[in-house]
């Protein structure tokens, strides 16, 4: 009896020492070495790919954000149509599925998790589709899927080229710019598939809006 207690204690001791030395290797040395390399070789990337406009940080090129004028009386955001709008975002803890652009809170990443047969999701998709069609003056059949569904992260930085082109005319009007100029701007900011076949074509909303604001202020790229 005494012997087996002693053996168990010895075994647990070995397990604890193994855990501690491997913690030093995998939990201290490994992350610190990689952080050192990363900070030396790719400081911008390692620190969140910040985007600057006229010297000021305006966000991260990897994270979506919202472009609102403020909120209405119920606390729902009112989209600022001078700028391109991102995908709907029903991030963690959001019970509001109406309209577009309700979350983009950087610290509550997540998806709606609503199933394909969920009636709330069906209702939200229909409402969003109606809103996009009315706002941008296109038939509902032309509204792309990414405009009416929320992403996996709730922080999707991109929209599809179709959704960006669909917004171009209204955005141009709000900014008193020719529609063709804004359409060309969208085309210039459209990224194809990586290496021609990886992922899907996309438009980074923040980078597009930075270029758009410069253009509207007469400081940007000429169409």
């Amino acid at each position: 009896m005494n012997n087996s207690v002693r053996n168990t204690a010895r075994l647990i001791g070995a397990g604890l020492r193994a855990l501690l030395v491997l913690t030093v290797v995998c939990g201290v040395i490994y992350p610190l070495v990689v952080t050192g390399v990363a900070q030396a070789a790719f400081p911008d990337r390692a620190n969140g790919s910040e985007v600057r406009s006229h010297g000021k940080v305006v966000g991260s090129s990897l994270l979506g954000q919202r472009y609102d004028k403020g909120t209405d009386k119920q606390g729902n955001p009112i989209p600022d149509l001078r700028f391109f709008q991102p995908r709907p975002s029903a991030g963690l803890g959001s019970n509001r599925a109406n309209g577009v652009n309700t979350q983009y809170d950087l610290q509550v990443s997540g998806a709606s998790n609503l199933g394909a047969s969920n009636t709330d999701l069906l209702k939200a998709v229909r409402e969003r589709k109606k809103w996009v069609a009315e706002t941008y003056g296109v038939p509902e059949s032309k509204v792309p899927a990414d405009a009416v569904t929320s992403s996996g992260s709730g922080l999707d930085p991109d929209i599809s080229p179709a959704y960006a082109q669909l917004q171009a005319a209204r955005v141009a009007k709000e900014n008193h710019l020719p529609a063709t100029t804004v359409r060309r701007l969208v085309t210039r900011h459209t990224d194809g598939r990586t290496l021609g076949f990886l992922g899907e074509p996309r438009v980074n909303v923040l980078e597009l809006n930075v270029a758009l604001r410069d253009l509207a202020r007469g400081q940007g790229e000429k169409g």
């Binding site: 397990g15 995998c26 998790n113 047969s117 999707d156």
Partner: protein, 563 residues
């Protein structure tokens, strides 16, 4: 190029990359686990542990090593979370509640990485990097060690010795997982994954004005280093709540494919290691073919159902983009979701609850197969070898011959152990799901009960949670609010029992095989390296799983898909 074609090309590129890595990595691992030499760094580690790496262990001793190391791991991780409030570098996060801390500790030690917490809102640098990420390494190395012990059981004769657990644990970590992780983490950072130790800080926003903020708070963290081992070790626990859908974890379409590659590379390459160690690489190819057929079949079906986007909400939207990122799209998300559920990973780049009903069924079925195609690191190989033992037994019954596999007799003791192995997870999954269906508290956690088809999606959420836990996957139909004492405790138990009970049977089987003397091959021996056997193995796997889980699947995804 159409999205479907792009999806097929991505799958092709993935297969090519895995094929290129297969031989070098498989041979490297065979050398790692059979070399008599120790690296200098390893000798230092053995001295600290106080273990003699050359002492051979019989199966009970090997098992005691596994269990002692894992028990200490659970306790350490539990205490680290309970004490978080007082630890430095914890970003001001409070200590984790007892039931959630137990759940999370069990989850990471069992290589599951089920998360009932939200990373960016609960876990500071110390718990993430020193606690969770370390278990990502060592739980993976433990799985590989057990698989290698079983392979040694087939390869060795007239001995009961299965190797040394401490040596296998240390070598798997130092010579396999760490080198690939260092390279992989640098690649991820180069593409945009973050790697820093800044706390919660303000970041500027595009619009500035009253009511608009102009600033938002965001988390820093050692994300790339954790991301790479989370995929490579088939762990799956995300730094952020959105897991690999979060752009800081998975910034672009290239990293997405790279992460899928990391998930699959060790489980597939281990079949080469197996072939080398039993002295016939063609035996490894037969196992590889079985895994490959199931994996490709599931991926093809998943892409088909997701591109077809069945279900009223997805039909209204025009594509299955709910819960999916623009930069990945439907094709790459489908490939990821199959890779993560056919291994024990559970990382997600798109949210499984919002897949089509049939797609959700495929994810469930992938886990129910026992995650053996190619499965978790180590656990995939030993799970598949157990299935091979069963298939050999069935073939033996058909022709009335004593079954044998790799020159070892599959007798009463062996088949009993294999049968116990395959009964563990179904018992846990179906038992706990049934219990949750009659408890009012458990029922209240379902998000999708208002769905068309009256609750079948809600039932799928619960079934998915226990399937994911008991099979050590860790992905979720996240509509379920699992952070309740009932789910934290029961899923925690399912994860621990689902991980360690099968290991008991695997190691006992390995011990009994290693004691046998080899049977010479005769004309009547079943040729287990031939396509016929691979076909039999695929059939065995599908039939056993089908019969076990079909009634439960019929109540969940099938009912939803047909309504």
């Amino acid at each position: 190029m159409s999205p479907v074609l792009a999806g097929v090309l991505q799958l092709t590129a993935l297969v090519a990359a895995l094929a290129l890595a297969y031989r070098p990595l498989g041979d490297h691992m065979a050398a790692v686990y059979s070399s008599p030499r120790h690296l200098r760094a390893e000798k230092i580690l053995y001295r600290c542990i106080g273990a003699n790496p050359d002492a051979q262990m019989r199966w009970p001793a090997y098992l005691r090593g596994v269990l002692a190391f894992s028990a200490v791991g659970v306790l350490f991780l539990y205490l680290l979370q309970r004490l978080q409030g007082g630890l430095p570098l914890s970003l001001g996060f409070a200590s984790i509640s007892p039931d959630q801390a137990f759940n999370t500790a069990a989850s990471f030690v069992a290589n599951t990485n089920w998360q009932s917490y939200s990373g960016e809102q609960a876990m500071g640098h110390v718990v993430q990097t020193v606690g969770l990420a370390v278990q990502n390494f060592v739980s993976a190395a433990t799985g590989m060690a057990v698989a290698i012990a079983l392979v040694r059981g087939f390869a060795r004769s007239r001995t009961g010795e299965l190797g040394n657990f401490w040596s296998d644990l240390v070598r798997g970590t130092i010579r396999v997982l760490i080198p690939i992780s260092v390279i992989g983490a640098v690649v991820l950072v180069a593409c945009g994954a973050i790697q820093n130790f800044s706390g919660i800080h303000e970041v500027g926003q595009f619009l500035n004005g009253p009511g608009l903020g102009g600033h938002q708070q965001t988390n820093g963290g050692a994300v790339a280093t954790q991301e790479v081992i989370k995929e490579l070790g088939t762990n799956g626990g995300g730094y952020f709540n959105a897991n690999s859908a979060h752009p800081f974890e998975n910034p672009d379409a290239f990293t997405n494919l790279f992460e899928i590659f990391l998930i699959l590379v060790i489980p597939f390459a281990l079949t080469r290691t197996f072939g080398k160690l039993v002295g016939n690489v063609r035996q490894g190819y037969a196992v590889l073919a079985t895994m490959g057929v199931i994996w490709l079949g599931f991926t093809a079906l998943m892409m088909w159902t997701e591109f077809a986007h069945g279900g009223p909400a997805l039909q209204a939207a025009g594509a299955a983009m709910e819960g999916k990122e623009t930069r990945f799209g439907v094709g790459a998300s489908s490939i990821f979701s199959v890779a993560t559920t056919l291994t024990s990973t559970g990382a997600v780049d798109s949210f499984h609850s919002s897949f089509t009903a049939f797609g959700g069924g495929l994810q469930l079925l992938g886990m129910m197969l026992g995650e053996i195609a190619p499965g978790g690191v180590g656990s995939g190989l030993y799970g598949m070898l157990i299935m091979a033992v069963i298939a050999v037994f069935i073939a033996g019954l058909m022709v009335g011959r004593t079954p044998e596999y790799l020159g070892k007799k599959i007798g009463t003791r062996e088949i009993k152990l294999a049968a116990c192995y395959i009964l563990v997870t179904p018992t846990l999954v179906l038992g706990f799901t049934a219990a949750s269906m009659v408890l009012p508290d458990a029922l209240g956690s379902m998000l999708n009960t208002k769905a068309l088809g009256a609750g079948s999606h809600g039932f799928s959420e619960v079934l998915y949670a226990f399937t994911s836990g008991a099979n050590n996957n860790g992905s979720a139909f996240a509509g379920l609010n699992a952070n309740t004492p009932w789910y934290n405790t029961t899923i925690g138990l399912a994860m621990l029992l689902g991980r360690f009970l099968p290991m008991v049977f695997v190691l006992a089987l390995a011990g009994s095989l290693a004691e046998q003397k080899p049977i010479p091959e005769t004309a009547g021996t079943l040729r287990t390296e031939k396509p016929l056997f691979a076909g039999l193995l695929v059939g065995t796997i599908l039939i056993i799983t089908g019969l076990t889980y079909f009634p439960a699947l019929a109540l969940g995804p099938l009912a939803e898909g047909l309504s």
